[in-house]
Amino acid sequence: MYNVDYAEEIVGTLFSGLGLTVQFVAFVIPAGFVLGFFMGWARTSSSWFLRALGTTYVEFFRGMPPIVLVFFSWLIATLVLRRYLGIEDPSGPAFAVGIFALALHSGSYQAEIVRAGILSVPTGQLEAADAIGLTRWQAMFRITLPQAFRVSLPALGNEFASLIKDTSLLTVIGAFELSQTGLLLVIDALIDRQDFNLIFIVWTEIALLYFAVTFLVTRAVRGIENVFKVPGLEAAQL
């Protein structure tokens, strides 16, 4: 049943899909983190307006299925391109739209992680910062954020792992990332070769490749955790 020749034959094709998936991940993780960081911070603000902005963002995008968000973003983007810029090729904006939609989606989860991190810093430390004459901003950058960051890391690693696999949703807008490449191979296996067994080979290889990317990213996050570890203090005790 296991067809070694076929397994080797499709590796190259899958690797080209993997390349695009890695590119998505490389853009979506930082974009989602920046968005999540500022929105999570906004939710802890004393300003009514910033809190409302952060809360609205989180509630809206956390409640929307990412696949719908990807579709809508793509539909709106192609509509705008077609109507106002006269661009007909619908595959053009897929890359930018994919990053945009997934960053919005993941940012809403990361915002809550960041907010939890900020709230985990005991208020007594901020009082102490006030008492030695530090300004609000100095206390935020020297006391609150460094500790919030440490507390947030494990949960952020979790969210990154989830996000890597969410890039497979971009199949629906024709981005030729790993899952899309796999789907095309499956169609080819069924129609041209009429060999049902090949499907297992395709999906097994895809699973292994997602696993490899996820493993590398979560290991990297764990490495960052270790670099910033405070002796005598585990994150949970902060």
Partner: protein, 241 residues
């Protein structure tokens, strides 16, 4: 050194301070006692403007610190504070806890800040713990770092808000020793405490606060042995058991 007149503070419907008048002379140690919720901590926090009073005035060496044009950061450099809950910055070493204010508030360059912080930590007996993180220190050691952190800012007054209440009994004396030494050196101190030994031996005066008012002021002997008010009597008999 400190002059307080007609101080009022409410939190929503709760009238915590109801007209406090208080004078503290330079070099005096004033102990503040009173039941929980009586307004002791609020009074201390008004003096360094961690809490802004609703009414009344506070003067620090004849500067009206409650005036709107006075920056709270400036006031807080003149007034050091030590908390019941220690409140060290948990992600920084003992040394960094002390250098932070020196570098960021007093704007010392890194080498000078480090030298000054080292000498403050030596004074509280922690010369061998400079690079320890708070979680690696005992409660008593942490509180001594907190005292060093406050003293590094060259305060004119030190406020202590129940500095030993959160500590295991075995560590209380080491913190009180540091405070006693500080008092001997002539620091002006306001100390909220239930350590009667410290109050008796070190305090120049004791005030008893109840329901947001100073009920009675006197020497340790006067307050503990022949209190003038029934409320003082009742409280003192409770804490002396």
């Amino acid at each position: 050194m400190i002059r307080i007149r007609g101080l009022h503070k409410s939190f929503d419907d709760l009238h915590v301070l109801r007209g406090i008048d208080l004078d503290v002379n330079k070099g005096d140690v004033l102990c503040v006692i009173g039941p929980s919720g009586s307004g002791k901590s609020t009074l201390l926090r008004c003096i360094n403007l961690l809490i802004r009073p609703d009414r009344g005035d506070i003067f620090l060496e004849n500067v009206r610190v409650t005036a709107p044009e006075i920056r709270p950061e400036w006031v807080r450099q003149q007034v050091g504070m030590v908390f019941q809950s220690l409140n060290l910055f948990m992600h920084l070493t003992a040394l960094k806890n002390v250098t932070l204010g020196l570098a960021r508030v007093k704007k010392l360059d890194p080498a000078n800040a480090r030298e000054r912080a080292r000498s403050e930590l030596e004074k509280v007996g922690l010369a061998d713990k400079l690079n320890a993180y708070p979680a690696q220190l005992s409660g008593g050691q942490q509180q001594r770092v907190a005292i060093a952190r406050a003293l590094a800012m060259d305060p004119k007054v030190m406020l202590f808000d129940e500095p030993t209440s959160a500590l295991d009994p075995e560590f209380i004396h080491e913190v009180l020793d540091v405070m006693t030494k500080l008092a001997d050196e002539g620091m002006t101190m306001l100390v909220v405490t239930h350590e009667m030994g410290f109050a008796k031996n070190v305090a120049d005066a004791i005030i008893f606060i109840d329901r947001g008012q100073i009920v009675e002021r006197g020497t340790a002997e006067e307050i503990f042995e022949r209190p003038g008010h029934d409320r003082t009597k009742a409280f003192v008999s409770k804490i002396l058991g």
